[in-house]
Structures are given as structure tokens and as C-alpha cells.
Symmetry: C2
Subunit: 270 residues, 2 copies
């Protein structure tokens, strides 16, 4: 089995590319796909489910749920819908970006909100065959996007739940700087919690707002091959998704970005 | 004793303010000062030492040494000079920003370079009454500025050396997102390693390049009072420095920034 057989193209890497074309490109190359809720809704949930099924393209994750640091009924209800959507698409994992510090709160109180939301969502997800995948985001997003900032923290949040209900995302872009990252990956694998494995490279300078600065594989400083080897050695054999938020990539034709990304993936993990 | 008696104004908060005026403002208000090597060199090392001594202003730290992830003879020699300068100024701590990932290296190899550099500098610093203060920087700086990214990592790096030789910087801006931060502060205090305690607030959006986005105290999301209480409860009674890298502050008159910062400090820790 070639590592390319594990390649999954996250649609956000070519954010403005037509979803049908993205799925067809995956089908032509034997690739898998990571989907996003907004384009899925635009295309239609059932239509997307039929599209990927007819094309024989595996959906590796749906992005994203979360934003439940203030676990209001509306936030919980939206996440239940996201779980239903993941189930309808055959996506084994719903990626969770936990959300910001609510007005008047602290990062500690926001983390309590995440615990509460998980408790309310985990059984619902498990019953539908969807694993909630807690994604630690890089700490530069800790106030306004995701209060879960390390792999260790994500694993601690997942710990009270069965692994088929709650897992974690191992995304190199967000965790590469962490001196405890290798231990964290070993722990995640031992606990069966790796619900999604994603690659992106770290490049500087960061753009204003820092959201769209993810580097093409091989263009930054992350030892991506070591991540794959570590995850593999720990027993993970699942898909490897590439998700790049990058304005320069987004401005280019989707097919070109797809081809370049697939080639960069093969080189980085050769 | 009022908390204002512990206020130290880091010169970088009003980066372009004349050093003499900054020292005089501190003298008038019973404040302490954190100095930077470049303005000290411009003013003259001996002249600066005389300036602060005559004004009766305590120097709480000198910024900065470090940038020794590739511990070349030149890097070590420059750090020895920085230690000498700190000693001449009566600064008890030399703040160390460890440096970037060297060309062709990884973050792990860079961290080995830091260990080596510390081993070569620690006794030299101790003999001169200067504590090397390892500053963990926010992980968004981990590739191009400082490979030491958490308080726990800084403490692990300091562990082989006597506390009077090597300590750490507790800077709220860099560590506030860390789920292990409270344990880290307790450990730092228990080991007598808090060589510098600095405050800055976290605000978003971050500017391009992310270096100059530090918020005035009280304008961001960090529970600064809790940090002071935690550090105090752990037995730290030293100065509390305010160091803000912020383009908007840097564009304003130094005296105005000094007055505003001192007032914000009093409010934040009231």
C-alpha cells in the first residue's frame, strides 16, 4: 500500500472550488475527501451524499462543529444537526473547533463550557456512528476561535467518553511547536483516540489575523514525515488529510491546487 | 505595601522614548525599570549604570540575550557580553529569547542547541550575580524567534542548574493559553525559578507578523489579577514588569504611555 492511498483532500484547501469538481478529482485519483458544512448545504446534503457515493469517494471528516464554549440550546442543536449531516455523508468524524472565550468569561470558564457541551453531544454522536473529533488549535487562536490549545488537553477532554464517541484531531499545523507532542500522539494512539490526522506546514511570516497562513507541505519547518511515522508506529492506519487555509492557494484554480497538494503530499511522506 | 511599589516599566513599552526620560519618569513615581541592550549601548553602558544609580531606580531585567539555538562561539560570546552588561547595570536577570530553528534543523535539534548554550553560560552568569531568565515565548513565535514555547519546557531546561544561575520568565502574554499554566507557576515558584514576572494582555486581531500585538493591561482576555495572586501565593514578592510591544503605543509620546501603563497596572491588579 502506497501512502498516496491514504491521501484525503480537505475541500478547504481549495475553498472556492466547486464541490462536484473536487469530488470528481478525488475519484479520478483514488483520493478521499474532507468536506465542509457550508458547501455541503449549498449543494444539498442528500445530493452530496449521492455524489460521493456514486463517485466511490470516501468522506474522511466533516468540518465543522463546535463553537460551544457557551453551550446554549442553539449551539447544542446546531451540533446535533452537524452530527446528523456527518452520518448522512458517511463521515466517520465530525471535527470540533471549540470556540472562543465568551464575553465576560475566562479561558478556564470557557473550557468548562466545552466539557458540558461534549457531555450533551457524545452519546448522540455515538448512536449515529460519528466520532466527535476535538481539534486543538494553535494557541494563537485560543481567545477568538478555540480555547482547546494542546493535544494533551484535547485528550483530557475526551477521556470521560468512549473512544467511538469522542476522539481528537492530530493536525501538525496546530501542535508541532509542543514539546509534549510525541508523548501526546503516543497517548492518543494508545487510547484509540485519533479520529482525524491532518497535515499542514508552518511558514512565516504569519498574515494579519493569522488564519490563512498555512503552508503547503514541504514549504515550512515541520518534520511531516516524522509525524506520519510516529502516528503509524503507534498503530494508526487511517486516512491522512491535507487542509491548508492559504489565501494564495485559494486564489488559484482548484484542480491545480489539488494536483500540487497531492504531489507535495507524496514528496513529504516519501 | 501597595502593588504599585512593585511596578516596573519595561522600556520597550515606549520603545522610542529617550532612555533618560524613561528613567526620570520611573524615579519620579517610585517605579523600577526594565532595560534593553540597544538603547543602553547607545546611551553608553557606564552612563546608563550611573543614570539609574543616581536616580535611585532599580533595574529589574536586561533584555535580551539568547538567540543561541545554533550555539556558535559568536553567539556564546555575545551572551557573555550581555551578562556583563546586566551585571554592570545591577540587573538581577538577563532575559533570554532562545532563537529560531536554524537553517536545516528541526525544533527538536534547536532545543538541543539551547541546552548546550545554557550549559556554557550558566556558571559565567552565576559568578557575576546575574540569573539567566529563560523566556518561553508564545508558540506563534516558535519557528522564527523562540523554540522554547511553554513554561514547563523552560523549567525543564533550567532544572540542571542552580536557581541563582538559571530561572524563567513568567510573562502572561506568552503563557496565558496553556492549560498547564497554573501548575507551571506553582512549580516555578517552588523551585525558586521566577527570575522575572511580566504582564501584557492578549488582544485580537493579531497584526501581520504578530510581533507587535500586545494589549494594554485590561484591554484583553487575560485574568491578570489571578496571575499576580497565584505568583504571590506561591511566594514570589518581586517586581512586576509591564512590557508591551504595540505599534499604536510606540507611536505615542513616551510619558503619556508611561502614565497610562502605570494607571492600567494599578487598575488591573486592584
Amino acid at each position: 500500500m502506497s501512502v498516496l492511498d491514504r491521501f484525503s483532500f480537505n475541500h478547504a484547501t481549495a475553498k472556492f472550488w466547486d464541490q462536484r469538481e473536487a469530488v470528481e478529482a478525488c475519484a479520478r485519483t483514488g483520493s478521499k475527501i474532507g468536506l465542509w458544512r457550508e458547501p455541503v448545504q449549498e449543494f444539498g446534503l442528500e445530493a452530496t451524499a449521492k455524489l460521493v457515493k456514486d463517485a466511490g469517494v470516501a468522506v474522511t471528516s466533516l468540518c465543522r462543529g463546535g463553537f460551544f464554549t457557551d453551550p446554549t440550546p442553539a449551539a447544542i442543536e446546531d451540533n446535533r444537526r452537524a452530527i446528523d449531516e456527518a452520518a448522512a455523508l458517511g463521515a466517520p468524524a465530525l471535527v470540533l473547533v471549540s470556540g472562543p472565550i465568551p464575553e465576560g468569561g475566562t479561558i478556564d470558564s470557557a473550557r468548562e463550557g466545552v466539557k458540558e457541551a461534549l457531555a450533551r453531544l457524545a452519546p448522540y454522536a455515538g448512536e449515529r456512528g460519528v466520532t466527535l473529533a476535538i481539534e486543538p488549535l494553535h494557541p494563537m487562536f485560543a481567545s477568538d476561535r478555540c480555547v482547546v490549545a494542546t493535544l494533551g488537553e484535547a485528550l483530557d477532554l475526551a477521556a470521560p467518553f468512549p473512544a467511538e464517541q469522542v476522539g481528537v484531531v492530530v493536525d501538525t499545523y496546530h501542535i508541532w511547536w509542543d514539546p509534549q507532542v510525541w508523548d501526546g500522539i503516543a497517548r492518543a494512539a494508545a487510547e484509540g483516540r485519533i479520529a482525524s490526522f491532518q497535515l499542514a506546514d508552518w511558514i512565516t511570516p504569519l498574515p494579519a489575523g493569522v488564519l490563512t497562513g498555512r503552508g503547503q507541505l514541504g514549504e515550512g519547518c515541520i518534520d511531516l514525515k516524522r509525524y506520519q511515522e510516529t502516528v503509524d508506529a503507534a498503530g494508526f492506519t487511517g486516512p491522512i488529510e491535507v487542509e491548508l487555509f492559504n489565501d494564495t492557494l485559494w486564489a488559484r484554480p482548484g484542480q491545480e491546487v489539488f494536483d500540487e497538494t497531492r504531489a507535495a503530499f507524496a514528496r513529504a511522506l516519501a
